[in-house]
């Protein structure tokens, strides 16, 4: 397993002892960091596709090539450590020419989305097409029919479109190095290389834990969310509203971005996707689990309570207004208070609700009803 060492960015405190010339400027470099990390620290914008700060470098996509004095060929900055006295150039005509050719070749191996009337990308935007635009790659090179094939998969969350895959292996490396379940891997050879599970079984029947990290790291939308596809939508749509919030399941406190369609549900709004913030920015480091990423359909479930309910004489529940329900509650709780005293009341608040709500419940128990019989539900 030691070969899978996640990339560690040296800490700020470590002694900068190397001197590197970066685009003509002498800068301090940290021992152990890569040229890409050094360049990013100094505000250089080197394009990458297969790179992820959480993963060991793969050097697979060739988009981050730079010039290093003394090396005849361009070298991958993501996989090359800095060295004392190194002279690095991150942008010049040669590198620009390389990027144009590289991206034109990638595009030639992709379907002609425009001709199909489709937007490239999955639920997420396509980094490949955006990068091709940015470097001005030619788009008129002859198309090759992709030979990659996928599999039928009844899992409800993850869709794989093999035609859009560029084999950068971010998904399979994420699956092995971060989620550590190795459910998917590169399979096949040459132009038929694809992403597969062992024996092509459904992700449901594999070691996959459905975390959806493969979707999150995919730069082209080859791995994407299945729910929109099932609903007949393909391709990326810019979210109208993005809300940063905290997951409501376990105690890790993952940060997540809710992509919201505000006009849906008669103006109530609908959560279209859940996306993790960029790696390295929050406690969850760009990761989410199956519940955080996918288990939000309860929000709009038809079983949601939408009105107060009151127990009728015959034991059935009937709908009521808030005023009526509150009046009945005051009568009920104060009745017990009058008959048996404040300590005959108990208040159970919730580790699922907000801090403010828990504060109000304990204040209500103590200040309004006069009892310390208040406890949140997860008392340990």
């Amino acid at each position: 397993m030691s070969s899978q060492n996640p990339k560690r960015v040296p800490e700020e405190a470590s002694d900068p002892s190397l001197s590197v010339t970066l685009d003509g400027e002498t800068v301090d470099a940290r021992p152990g960091e890569t040229i890409l990390e050094l360049a990013e620290r100094h505000g250089k914008d080197i394009p990458t596709l297969c790179h992820d700060p959480r993963l060991a470098p793969a050097g697979a996509c060739r988009s981050c090539l730079v010039e290093v004095e003394g090396s005849r060929r361009l070298i991958p900055s993501c996989a090359t450590p800095v060295a004392d006295g190194q002279v690095v150039t991150t942008a010049n005509d040669r590198i620009a020419r390389h990027q144009k050719v590289l991206l034109a070749l990638y595009l030639a191996d992709q379907p002609d989305f425009a001709a199909r009337g489709e937007t490239p990308g999955g639920a997420q935007a396509c980094e490949l097409h955006a990068m091709a635009d940015a470097v001005g790659a030619p788009t008129d090179w002859p198309k090759m029919e992709p030979l990659r094939v996928g599999r039928e998969d009844r899992n409800p969350y993850v869709q794989f479109f093999p035609e859009a895959c560029i084999l950068c292996a971010r998904c399979t490396r994420y699956c092995a190095e971060i989620e550590s379940v190795s459910a998917i891997s590169l399979a096949g050879r040459g132009a038929e290389t694809t992403i597969a599970t062992a024996d092509d079984v459904s992700l449901l029947d594999s070691s996959c834990e459905l975390c959806g990290g493969c979707i999150d790291v995919c730069p082209t939308g080859a791995m994407t969310e299945k729910m929109p596809v099932t609903a007949g939508r393909r391709g990326h749509v810019e979210p109208e509203k993005v809300v940063r919030t905290t997951c409501n399941y376990c105690g890790v406190g993952c940060q997540m971005d809710l992509h919201v369609e505000p006009a849906a549900n008669d103006g109530r709004g609908r959560i279209e996707r859940v996306v993790s913030p960029e790696a390295g920015t929050t406690t969850n480091d760009g990761n989410l689990c199956v519940k955080g990423r996918f288990a939000y359909d309860f929000v709009d479930h038809e079983d949601r309570l939408t009105t107060p309910l009151i127990r009728a004489e015959d034991g059935s529940l009937r709908e009521a207004s808030w005023d009526e329900a509150l009046a009945r509650t005051v009568e009920g709780l104060m009745g017990v208070h009058e008959r048996h005293g404040a300590d005959a009341l108990a208040f159970v608040s919730s580790s699922r609700c907000t801090m403010e709500e828990n504060y109000l419940v304990q204040k209500m128990a103590r200040a309004v009803f006069g009892t310390n019989n208040v406890h949140q539900c997860a008392a340990t």
Partner: protein, 568 residues
Amino acid sequence: MAGLVTTFGAGAMTNSIGEIRDADVLFVIGSNTTEAHPIIAMEMKRAVHRGATLIVADPRSINLTSFASRHLKLRPGTDVWLLNAMAHVICAEGLVDADFIETNTEGFDAVRETVARYTPEEAEKVTGVPADDIRWAARAYATTPKAGIYYTLGITEHTHGTDNVYGLANLVLMTGHLGKPSAGMNPLRGQNNVQGANDAGATPIFYPGYQRVDDPEVAARYEKSWGVPLPREPGLNLNVMMKETGRSIRGMFVMGEDIVLSEPNAGALEERMNGLEFLVIQEIFLNETARFADVILPGACFAEKDGVFTNSERRVQRVRKAVEPPGQAKADWEAVLALANAVAEKRGLTPWRYDGPAAIYAEMAKDADKFAGISHDRVDREGGLQWPCTSPEHPGTRFLHEGGVLRGKGLFTAIEYRPSVELADPEYPLVLSTGRTLYHYNAATQTRRGVGLAEKQPVAFCEIHPADARARSIEQGDLVEVETRRGKVACRAMVSRQVRRGCIWMPLHFAEARANLLTVDDGDIVTQTAEYKVCAAKVTRVAEQPAERDAFPGSFYAVAGPEQGTIH
């Protein structure tokens, strides 16, 4: 939590989640981290890939044990023996941090005397863990500076839960693994806001920020702040409330918990619920408890309201409203505010005025030093902040006890092994433990309403060792009845070597096979937390329709092959 407050002076993870990947030894006990805290498990696995030593102590072979250097597969409920024996080794082999003990702790001598009697060889007889493994684990933990302990409800949900916490704390204190990065003692919180609910004072003994209700100075301050006289006697805690339901407790308000699904010995609780004169619940779905409610108020889910949650590592983070609640449902703070003011009006008290959650938070922070520097504004600006954060300039606290234990001196507590309250016997020969799975969440009112999770894990099940299954003519997927002295439920048998022989395990999520009809409600002597992890049970096959083919698709646990080995 009580154990932690007693020992260290603060009931929370001492360290941060981001430090886990840099730990060199991780001692994980009573935590099925990959299923209950998947993102923390990812960090642990990253540490292992980096070369860290992972030690897992758990009665089951959980997913994490396949990454572990050693798996201490102890018998359920024998944690004190294991921990005392580890302490025995550390003391006997001179691996204690004498300087730390001298400067930062008190009570070590009593612990040293007690653990002298807990030899690894005797421990092996009780726990089933080989003495050599206990020695190995103790040495690895004690001799590695960046060694962290991670635990959850497998430690606390016992009648001796607080003892287990003391046992762990003793290890931390005698080795000095405290007050530095990637070390410490880290309870992983099960719910999004367990930490925040405790912090906010939703406990019978504390006002916000762990200020005791029976401290006259504290009470006087809150009386001044809130403008009313306040009760000075600590209230009943949850497990006692449940036992007093229908007896001394006659009226109840429940927000966001399905008590008859989640609380132990639920059958008996249901009977007592009938003795309540009034029950109001505030919920987003009709749950099992709703059957007993006189009034049900529709609440809002996390995506429909503003506020903060505080995570396991004491980090206060924002919850932001993304969509409107359905129909007439209201954010729970609005509902509680409306109710409190309706009662206040009737009792002639001054009504409360808050123009939103930010104002509520500000009021709470004003009277609780730990959070005084935190506000919605600041969290919006800077991202999550970890308490203690005592002033608007304070940067927050990544790990506790730096430069000295918060309590002043870390308190050693000598503990003796006490068996669980209900042990296996000829009539009920198996030991039942309960827990959570990756694909569902607690009462599963949310997760079982999604298409995907219900597909991955559709049916209630009970894990049983192949030898125990064979003795009962039970095959994979058979319908079985699990019975204890308190009740019985039917579910599918998952024949699996993940559980020890003589032990069975059930998830708590399934309303149609409520594990908590089976569990005991005897509580820990300090916290009263019930022993969800140990009770005596029997399992019988029910002759009925054959199982659906795919009861456990792709399950990590339902392996037919030989028992999974660990790397030694």
